[in-house]
Symmetry: D2
Subunit: 359 residues, 4 copies
């Protein structure tokens, strides 16, 4: 209950200022040679202080695997891992104990649980996503090698990457610290973020994710539709306010005649407004989706707020926060998608295997 | 696995041309006096042929409860129900046996399962939602009586209801067959649909759903966030291509300073760009979201397609289909949302009850 | 939650005097040609009035499949089914409304739910097992054809079948209405039950179940051990008070030297005190277990009891009840075991399939 | 999937010679003041080398909580914990790499997964139960304080504690290193184990567990019966071969007239052959069950076996192993039972809460 995945599952724990984050991955297949460098690489892409436009907070974010891997291969048994928090005791958070910061989870946690870890984000910290990157980077290794999952920043504020994803060169995503592969747009975005940062403000944006070469048949008909599983995962990321796939909200303006994807004789389609999914099941064309991130709530400006007694207070973010979370969210989106796909991929294997038996 | 809900769960079955749809609701609380009229009323709102702008197919859609309710009250045991299909044998579907209709699930089902019920939509039929309406209309009765869930059609094609939901009179939603409470917009939408229908074409649109008076504390911190559970449920509806809540995709264009909802001294907020959810948990203000529906794939015009052997064919929808599924989708959205809320509400009750004990 | 199975799942519903029992089987593999006769045969073995030593109540117990099967083959989509109750309104149960029968669930249901269906067993009726037989008889068809699951009555009261299962001829189980394959023991058991029945009394007994040719590798290491899944399923049968497998309670008297199963060079073992399971996983030898059934609580003699107000009453079973439930429980045990095995078999297929990929 | 519990869940990880064991407890109620001493006390009761009749292996077994607890109270968020393994690298296990020890899981793990951690027990090690003790000792704190869970060794080999549990003084369980509260029996058991140990042999036995003051209503009607959940948990312990509750296997020899528990006017019963559970739900009287442990498979004598190539080998246990696992299993049984009860207790709270609403 309340895990990521249905067969391949991830349970997680961790508060931002506790000793560690971590998780357990269950039902991971046995005998897979783990590419540890890939996992660490994904963690590094998510890490703070990797470039000038993200938070300068220092965390080394090294994952330690505690079980389920032996002599470099998966055992088929639960994979436990932790990522230790560093310097978690160094700050004094007493002043946040009874303050409710605007658009943070302080108020709702207190109301729901009657208690909260008030040190930084506590449980509501986006640092939780460090767990997802580990699990997703590992799960990706279950998928056929030709499956390619690429996410990129498709807008920052009002600056949009207007080109369709088909005309972008994904090999350039890492070339710009904003992780938008279009040079001109990337530069505009970076300069926008620098300005926003100087103001002590923050800004939102969108990420587009494209999955190529996904086998046909991934996703389940009713309550395990591929798009529903992806949406659920993406809406679990703290700042995400929306999800659309294929034609998305634009599709709602169209007529059936315009929207239908006509088949070619090899079962590919002339268009792909469906976003690679029909009836909840992948059809072999590109799966693509776009998600909206609101601006980070912590701003380095004074804001009016209240404390837990309903008394007016002024809060002001201090220290090293992201002015724009988008570049660091790119690996989160990719690896989270990988986990969702690996789960549904394994489930689909049962269906296929059972069919083999009938032949 | 692959059910709706986490504690309060719905499992369903049914193909469009089999004998019946139906489901089992588990962990429904005992001793609740069931309002059967409300359930049938919601089914009637979803029913075909209820107005001139929807399909004229005839189905009476009467639910039969087979267990879990005794002398008008719930027993606390699983609630089994069925909705019989009518005239399911009347048509000849042989001609669809090997045809893949554009933007339908024919191809993906065949590829995934190696077999499909080719009569009409089979398992991929939107008639599945009849189960969700029954379960949701029942689940709604678990929620505190003052919780109000209202959905309405907020756009059809390019016609948008420009007024914010706060200025609409929800008591007028049922006044127009399109289920948009703004008279002027409703009329435009209806005339648009009539035109589209005459052309044998179909059209998409959006539905906005507003939940008022939801208690604080609904939703779970990490993998059971309220928005994620809602998104997953909504993306399970066949034609849905997108979900956004609160500021949604617009929020991605904003800065933190603009987007943050400033607290009043009574813990209400001056704005509600958060959409009533902070950290995945309801904060007592309105929860609202918007979902995009693509146009129905079946159009009454000839379209090129292929059969299962990859041979070119021409398909043409016949008979009684929806030119715009939006008005009938309104009760689906509302009742599906109700089920999601009731599930998370019960889960939150455990947490609260356990806290009481500690006092 | 609270279903049978982990991947292949069964949800059920039904009260003894409601309109029907039924269930939904999810994640059943697609494309399997269903042997309907086998399912009905198993239902007939469980049916009342099949012989003189069981209840003479008449129920035809015909299963109707409502979805998931098309042209005789499984679709891979949820399989819904119902078994209608007959004559469920014929009796007057008013007199049971406030009476708590000894060793029945009347009292605990009332306390837990604050309400109960007092007509006969209501939800606590063993008629629920009709669902399990349908699901199990279907699930058995997923298993490799050479897997053989045989249960038999190994004791009635103090009468034990002293021969080890290896020396019994399972083809004779159906030869005697008591379903013990040893003629001499069977006759003693039958005559004992006839005597008990004449007295208006009831009697307990044990069933032994033997699974041959189960593939190696079925069962999961920690919380999905094969023996734990079997135990849980068996303890779900109303009258079951105990479960043991392999050496069972006798094994608790032994030393390690006596108990260890020494390997042959072909990995078979010289003895099988382990009961075919090591570390929760099948090892290719016979899996066998034994379960204890208490005597049926309803006796046709007056017994002192209380009503819901705590007032003394006298209750006396009337009509047609089983004096010994064991012969009818044999198919329940076999088919329930089949479901457990099919679930774990499918889960193991994922693991194997995933390994293939690595080769 | 494959966790302990249904609402309150425990996921675990760990191999005997990896860096650590650990787990995540989800849905634990918020605001509970944790009694850490109690948890460590239970770990100490399970620890090796606590007395002369158990293994002299040294492990300090200190639990570290990594999340979910703040300033001594539970946060309502997932509780992560680890227990580090000590000296896990000190031994050379190369010689076990290709050997299959009799009645160990070496063979089945290799067959199922195609790989295994051959260092000691690896994943199949009973050290996994250290996780269960932590989780159970914490879960017990959710239950009403007057609920008492006491387990004791009721037999070792052929030596039985003949007295019924009602006549035993549970406060003496800890008085004897064997954890049988009857002095005379305890002494016989201890001397038996000493003899067995000297022989390099091992011996089995049974544990009886008694739960007093459990509230009425715990357990669910069909697939979550209290006895089924307890059986599943107990059969998850490595060496357990059988489970019986109430009258158990003896009940199978009785008639209904003898077995029925007659109500008193206060709803207590004159006898308790039911074992405190009716229809899967606790009835307020003592819940008691008995479980059978086979002798430990590792004996300090040479035994014939095979290696993975099917070649004959001789294996001989070395070092510090338990001659009788029973005394150390007592806290495992108690704390595992506590977890099962706490899970079902929380689930029952929802049902009750919903009823309150109706009043």
């Amino acid at each position: 209950m309340f895990m990521l995945g249905n067969f391949l599952t991830l349970s997680t724990f961790g508060e931002s200022h506790g000793p560690a984050f971590g998780g357990i991955i269950s039902n991971f297949p046995a005998g897979l040679k783990v590419d540890f460098d890939e996992i660490q690489y994904q963690l590094d892409r998510r890490k703070p202080a990797q470039s000038k436009i993200v938070t300068q907070r220092k965390e080394s974010d090294i994952v330690k695997f505690l079980s389920g891997i032996f002599e470099g291969k998966t055992l088929g048994t639960p994979i436990g891992f932790i990522i230790e928090n560093e310097n978690q005791k160094s700050k004094d958070y007493e002043h946040l104990k009874s303050v409710y910061r605007p658009s943070h989870a302080d108020f709702t946690y207190d109301q729901k649980f009657g208690i909260r870890d008030y040190r930084g984000g506590g449980k509501s910290s986006a640092r939780e996503t460090v767990n997802w990157v580990v699990a997703g980077a590992l799960a990706k290794q279950i998928l056929p090698k030709n499956v390619k999952i690429n996410a990129y920043v498709s807008s920052v504020g009002e600056i949009f990457c207007e080109k369709p994803y088909q005309s972008l060169d994904f090999s350039k995503i890492e070339s710009y610290e904003i992780r938008c592969p279009d040079e001109e747009t990337a530069k505009k975005m970076i300069s926008k973020i620098k300005k926003i940062k100087k103001d002590g403000n923050t800004i939102g944006g969108t990420i587009t994710c494209v999955i190529k070469n996904l086998p046909i048949g991934i996703g389940e008909p009713i309550f395990g539709k591929l798009q529903a599983e992806l949406a659920k995962a993406m809406l679990s990321i703290n700042a995400v306010k929306g999800f659309e796939y294929g034609s998305g909200f634009c599709g709602a303006k169209m007529t059936g005649k315009e929207h239908n994807d006509i088949f070619n004789e090899d079962f590919s389609t002339k268009t792909n407004l469906s976003g690679g999914i029909l009836g909840g099941i992948s059809n072999g064309t590109d799966v693509y989706f776009r998600i909206a991130f609101k601006p980070v709530a912590t701003i380095l400006q004074p804001q009016k707020s209240v404390d837990k007694f309903g008394k007016s207070v002024v809060v002001e973010g201090k220290g090293r926060h992201d002015a724009c979370v988008l570049p660091r969210a790119v690996p989160i989106v990719e690896n989270l998608a990988a986990f969702v796909l690996a789960d549904l991929f394994l489930i689909n294997e049962v269906r296929r295997k059972a069919q083999d038996k009938n032949d």
